[in-house]
Symmetry: C2
Subunit: 330 residues, 2 copies
Amino acid sequence: MNTIFFKNKPQIIATATICGPKEAEGNLGKYIDEKLADDYYGEKSFELAERKMLTRVISRAIEKSNVPLSEINAIVAGDLLNQIISASFSAREFESGFLGVYNACSTMTESMLLACALIDGGYFKNAVCATASHFATAERQYRYPLEQGTTRPAQSQWTVTGAGANVISLKGKGVSVLSATVGRVIDYGVTDANNMGAAMAPAAAHTLLDFFHDSNKRASDYDMILTGDLGALGSRMLKELLLKAGVDLKNHLDCGELIYNLNETEYQGGSGAGCSAVVFNSYIYERMLKGEYKKILFMATGALLSTTSTQQGESIPGIAHLIELESDYA
Amino acid sequence: MNTIFFKNKPQIIATATICGPKEAEGNLGKYIDEKLADDYYGEKSFELAERKMLTRVISRAIEKSNVPLSEINAIVAGDLLNQIISASFSAREFESGFLGVYNACSTMTESMLLACALIDGGYFKNAVCATASHFATAERQYRYPLEQGTTRPAQSQWTVTGAGANVISLKGKGVSVLSATVGRVIDYGVTDANNMGAAMAPAAAHTLLDFFHDSNKRASDYDMILTGDLGALGSRMLKELLLKAGVDLKNHLDCGELIYNLNETEYQGGSGAGCSAVVFNSYIYERMLKGEYKKILFMATGALLSTTSTQQGESIPGIAHLIELESDYA
C-alpha cells in the first residue's frame, strides 16, 4: 500500500505563480500572477533570478492566504539546482521551519504530500509548498550554457522559467487533498538525458496503477488526470503503458503540453520543477475554485538524473508522486 | 512553535552502518557493522561506492528489523551529491516508495522527523531513514579532486566515508522518538566553504533554543545533547552562543569530534551527511539500547551551500533539525 488517505481533508487555501516572458506568451499566461519582463528579473545571474522567483511566490502565497507569517510552520520546498540552493536561500528569508525536498520535477507533489500529512496528522497548522525552475540555469547545469548555442534534439523539452507555491491548511475553503500516493523509483533503462518524458512515463504509470489498486478508484472517476511534464512523447508512452494494463486514459492532460503555444523550439513541451508548479497553481487551481473541475489526480513526474550519473553512463530512473484533489465548490 | 510532539512514540527498531578504512580505525570503529577494505568498495568510481554503501545499509537495516520488505512503506533518504543521486539510485533497488530529502548534513534528522510524523500519524507502518557521504566524492564535488593534491586549511573538517540507516516503526521496542523540532535557515554571513562548523553552529543554537522554548525542557533533562558535525571549532561556537542565551551546555558531544582519533589531517573532526548517520546509528543507538543513555537530543547540522553559491560569493546558511530520543530500556 503506497497510498495515504487523509482524514481531515487538508485544504489548498492559496496559490501564487510567476513565470518568464516565454511562458507569459503561452496558453496559460493570463492565469499566471506575475510575469518577468526578462529572464534576469533584475538580478545579475540566472540563479539569483530563479531564487527571487521562488522567494516571491512563497511570500505572495502567504499574503493571499491571510495566514500570519508566524503561523506558517514550515516551508517544504526544493528545486533542480545542485544542493537545492534556490529553496534553501529562499527559506532563509522566512522565520518558518524549512524541510528541503528533492524528487526532481516531482518535487511539487512530493512537498504537497508531506505537508498534507504533517497538517492532517495535527503536527502543523499551515505549510507552504513551493518549487521553481529556470530555463537558463537548468541548461547550464544539466546540458550546455546557452552562450554555447548548442542545437537541441527533437525529443527535448523546454525547462519552464517559473515558480509556484501554495499554502496548505486545515482551515478554510478551496481545494481539498483527499489522498496521496508515494511514488517508487522506476527505471526502464532510458539513457538519453534529452528524452526525459520517456524516462518518467513508466514511473507515472506505476504510481497511477498503485493509486487505483489502493483506492479502488478508476480513471473515469476523475475530471482530469494531470501529469507534470511528460511532454507529448512521454504522454503518448504513458497512455500506451496504461492501455497494456487495461486502463484507457481518455481524460489526461500534461502540464508540459499545456503551458506553451505550439512552437518548434520547445519540441515536446515544457518541463522542469516549475512547469507543474506554475500550471497547477494558476490555471488548474483557478478552474477548481470555480467548480469547473471537481475531481483531479495530479502527478508531478521527476527524472532522477545528474550530470555525473549521465556522464558515468547510468540510465535515468523516474518517479511520480500523486495527489488526489477535490474542489470544495461543486 | 517549531516542535512536533509525537503521540504514539515511533520507535527506531533497527539500525545499520558501514564506513571506510579511515573511519574503521577511529574511536567508534568497533561499533560499526561493516568496514570497507578500500574506498572503492569494489566499484569503478567513488560515486558508485557511495551508492553501494547506502544501498547496503538500507538492506541491512531492513533485514535486522525483521520487517518484511513489502511492509516498508517508504525510504526517506538524501545525500550530498548533486540531485541526491546516491539516494535516488539506491531507492531504485527497493519496491518501497521514495521520498528524497535534502538538508545537507542535517538530512539524517530531517528524514527521521518526517518518517516519525508519517508513522505517528498512522499513514505509514514502517519507514527507512538513510543517508551517506564519501570523502572522495565530496572533495571532488565541493572543493578539488583528490588527484590534485590540494592542501587543506586548519579550519577544515574531513567528510566521513560512511552510511547509516534506521527503520522506524510503531511496533517493537528500541529507542522512542518523543518529539522533533523543525530547523530554520540561519545565516550569520560565513563565506568560507572550509569552515562549515562556523556556518552551522548558529542554526544548531537556534533549533535547541526553539526546542527548549516549545517543550519547557532544559539541557540538564538530557544525558547528552548530540550535534551532527560541528567539529571542534563549531562546537566551541555553539557553546558560546548558548552561554550568551543563558544555557550552559555541559552535556554536549559532537559526532564529528567523536568519530576519528585525534589526527592532524582532519583538523576539526568529521563532517558529511554520513558522519552523524554512522555515529548515531552505531555507537549512540547501541548505548541507548543498553540503557546507558536514557534521554538524548540529537541535532544533525547542515551547511546549505553549493559550489555555484560559493563561486557567486554567497554566504553559507545553516540548518539543524532536532530529534528527542528516549531509550525503552531504563
